[in-house]
């Protein structure tokens, strides 16, 4: 009896893994997907925002049955000190379009749906099964995976590593290094349940409209970090993510920061009366372009968070994951159809397709930002937010002092905190990193 062999094994059933598995299965490849969780989504944590455009490229009619919470019509960016926030809000009626651009989702449900699509397309998914080792032939080419279940290794022409940010399979096999602490953020989040109409009232929403708040400032106690609040249908996802290296240096604990964020006078009334039913924590790749490991080898490719494909500046990750999974799937299908083997050279097709996509182009554009956030965290996440808040209060408060005095006081405060030269160099550095 000859041994069963798959065209591809996908390790992981998150965004990138599901995208890769679906892309290949729907093009007729024999795909096996391994997921260590009890069901797809059970181990996956994200805020979460779904970027419709990228999913549309994979499952065009996903809006028919995907579990979507709300479509986003408003984005708020808050700069916070301990008692106040200065905000920039953008809300547009244009976002109430038929095929909305961004949705909030709950990953546990969404990933189940996505995996269901993989099954419909003919893929086989094994849950509660962890890939423990890559199986290699005599010359070191990857030919399959060993699992934590009894039995021989499962064989395949190619293994797609979609094992997430902390993927131990790839690091254990020496395909890439363990992520450095300055290149990953630890995000902690809670799900606060509130009745649908209360959420609608508090955030000024009707129907399926949703709103996002992103906040930075003293809530992260000088560590590079970001607080977030997403409205779901009958819950609010709230969390804060900070660079692990920053947390280690400052000895701040994530749950203390999350508590501080929740108790902030600008956030607290938005959550009043809610019931917390879930909490979760997850690492987010923040290293950007410079942290991307080798993406392909003899018989394997790596996609999504495992490949550090995350745009820290725009807080985009799941779309890069989906698109990288899709591109990997397409590349593998192309190589397969040409009847060529899954060698490192042939799989470079994935890399070159990815380079041409928005994924790599965006990451290259912002390649210097992660280092900037890391090295200038104190001024960016504590000093400036405080100064901006003081200036805003001075501008608004009417107390009899003259406007000239107020403006001078505001400018003096900036100069005192960062010096003239410091202000100019901060501005130049930010501009250069952004360029």
């Amino acid at each position: 009896m000859s041994r069963e062999r798959f065209d591809a094994i996908v390790v992981g059933a998150g965004m990138s893994g599901n995208a890769a598995a679906y892309t290949m299965a729907s093009r007729g490849l024999k795909v096996l997907q391994l997921e260590r969780g009890e069901y797809p989504g059970s181990k996956n944590v994200q805020g979460a925002i779904l970027y419709a455009n990228m999913l549309e490229g994979i499952v065009p009619n996903f809006r028919d049955d995907a579990p979507l919470e709300r479509h986003l019509v408003e984005q708020r960016l808050w700069i916070m000190d301990d008692t106040s926030h200065s905000g920039m809000h953008y809300r547009s009626h244009d976002f109430n379009e038929q095929r909305a651009n961004r949705y909030t989702i709950v990953r546990v449900q969404f990933d189940k749906w996505f995996a269901g699509k993989v099954r419909e397309a003919g893929g086989t998914i094994l849950c509660e099964t962890t890939a423990t080792k890559l199986a290699r032939d005599g010359s070191g080419n990857v030919i399959g995976v060993h699992t934590d279940r009894a039995g021989r290794p499962i064989l395949a022409d190619v293994v797609v590593l979609a094992e997430g940010v902390n993927g131990v399979l790839g690091t254990r096999m020496g395909l890439r290094d363990v992520p450095k602490s300055q290149n990953v953020a630890l995000a902690v989040k809670e799900m606060h349940f509130l009745p649908e109409h209360v959420i609608a009232e508090r955030f000024g929403l009707t129907g399926d409209q949703g709103c996002v708040i992103e906040a930075l400032g003293t809530i992260s106690r000088g560590v590079a970090g970001l607080g977030f609040l997403y409205t779901n249908r009958d819950s609010v996802s709230l969390g804060i993510g900070c660079l692990v290296s920053g947390l280690a240096e400052s000895m701040e604990s994530p749950h203390t920061l999350l508590n501080g964020f929740k108790c902030h006078p600008s956030i607290k009334p938005l959550l009043a009366g809610s019931e917390v039913k879930e909490y979760a924590a997850h690492l987010i790749p923040e290293g950007g372009f410079r942290a991307i490991p080798e993406l392909h080898g003899e018989g394997w490719v790596v996609v999504g968070d495992a490949a550090q494909l995350n745009n820290a500046v725009h807080r985009e990750g799941s779309n890069l994951a989906m698109t990288s999974g899709q591109i990997a799937g397409e590349a593998i299908c192309t190589i397969k159809n040409q009847g060529r083997p899954m060698t490192k050279d042939n799989l470079s097709l994935y890399k070159s397709m990815l380079d041409k996509s928005f994924v790599m182009r965006d990451l290259i554009k912002h390649k210097d930002v992660p280092a900037l956030l890391h090295t200038n965290s104190q001024s960016l996440f504590s000093t400036y937010p405080k100064l901006i808040s003081q200036a805003a209060q001075g501008f608004v408060r009417v107390d009899g002092s003259t406007k000239i005095e107020k403006e001078k006081a505001a400018i003096d405060a900036f100069i005192k905190a960062r010096s003239r030269w410091g202000l100019v160099s901060d501005a130049v550095r930010i501009a250069r990193a952004w360029r």
Binding site: L126, A150, G151
Partner: protein, 295 residues
């Protein structure tokens, strides 16, 4: 050897919360599991099958290999529980599902399952042993297993913690049965129905071959019509005389059971001792006619 295991998909009671105001169970979003006692039953069945296979291999050139069939009655989503059972290593799965089964109490459930097992017997060969858990963690009645045995007119062995031996020639089975404060060693003839208490076994982690097979195999699904039974009134709500009048938490029994030594005593003697013990512990009963007749 053919073994049938009856399982039930139940809400994970460790994750159920009671509504603080209305005192009702909040089932929403509670994950489902296979009833834990059924897992003891399934593992015992798998072990018997594997042991049987080993024995056959020793004596026969072409071992027939025993089969374990899992069956459940429930809504379509109960297929998940069956698939999980296949992942553990069961050989085939049957889902008995139909809107007309909805609202079944233990009487109607045991009738439907007995019909399904009879059909499984017709199709795949008569079962030698039927396993169930001793009870489910959501209903806690412990009635379905005995109900099935009665309807199939076979021996019932309840609260079993271990099946120690099967003699295929004599068609007999040895089991250890849990008693309050002791263990009963029983020999019974096959076919029989065994309800498993918290056994000595732990459910295995299925092999990669088993999980691959489970992920891809189709689950047999039978409705009322497939069971080929005329008495459809015995299914579902119509066949369920049970009415829930009230739900409450009973206070636990404070007293331990007492066992009396019976060896080398006449029945009358044992009865006298028993009555004496009762009247000494329940003074209120002492004046009743029962104690006088015993004296």
């Amino acid at each position: 050897m053919h073994i049938v295991v009856c399982i039930k998909q139940v809400p994970d009671s460790s994750q159920i919360r009671v509504h603080p105001v209305t005192n009702t169970i909040m089932r929403q979003g509670v994950p489902t599991i296979i009833n834990p006692y059924d897992l003891f039953a399934l593992e015992e069945a798998l072990r018997l099958r594997d042991r049987f296979a080993l024995e056959e291999k020793r004596w026969l050139r072409n071992p027939s290999r025993g089969k374990v069939t899992v069956v459940t009655m429930g809504p379509p989503m109960a297929a998940q529980a069956l698939r999980k059972a296949l992942t553990y290593g069961a050989d085939r799965a049957v889902l008995v599902t139909d809107r007309r089964f909805a609202g079944s109490d233990t009487l109607a459930t045991s009738f439907a399952l007995a019909c399904a097992i009879a059909k499984i017997g017709e199709r795949f060969g008569p079962p030698d042993i039927i396993f169930t858990g001793k009870q489910t963690i959501d209903g806690d009645t412990a009635q379905v297993g005995p109900g099935i045995a009665k309807r199939l007119n076979i021996q019932q062995l309840t609260y079993i913690k271990k099946v120690t031996r099967i003699d295929h020639l004599r068609r007999s089975v040895d089991v250890e049965r849990c008693l309050e404060g002791g263990t009963q060693f029983i020999e019974s003839k096959m076919p029989c129905l065994v309800t498993m208490a918290d056994g000595l076994n732990t459910i295995r982690r299925g092999s990669i071959e088993d999980s691959l097979r489970a992920a891809r195999c189709s689950i047999l699904t039978w409705g009322v019509a497939d069971l080929g039974v005329r008495e459809v009134d015995k299914f579902g709500l119509k066949g369920s005389p049970t009415v829930v009048k009230r739900v409450f938490a009973p206070t636990p029994r404070a007293q331990k059971s007492v066992q009396l030594e019976t060896a080398s005593k006449t029945v009358g003697h044992v009865a006298d001792e028993l009555v004496a013990w009762i009247s000494s512990h329940q003074p209120k009963l002492a004046d009743m006619p029962l104690s006088k007749s015993g004296a």
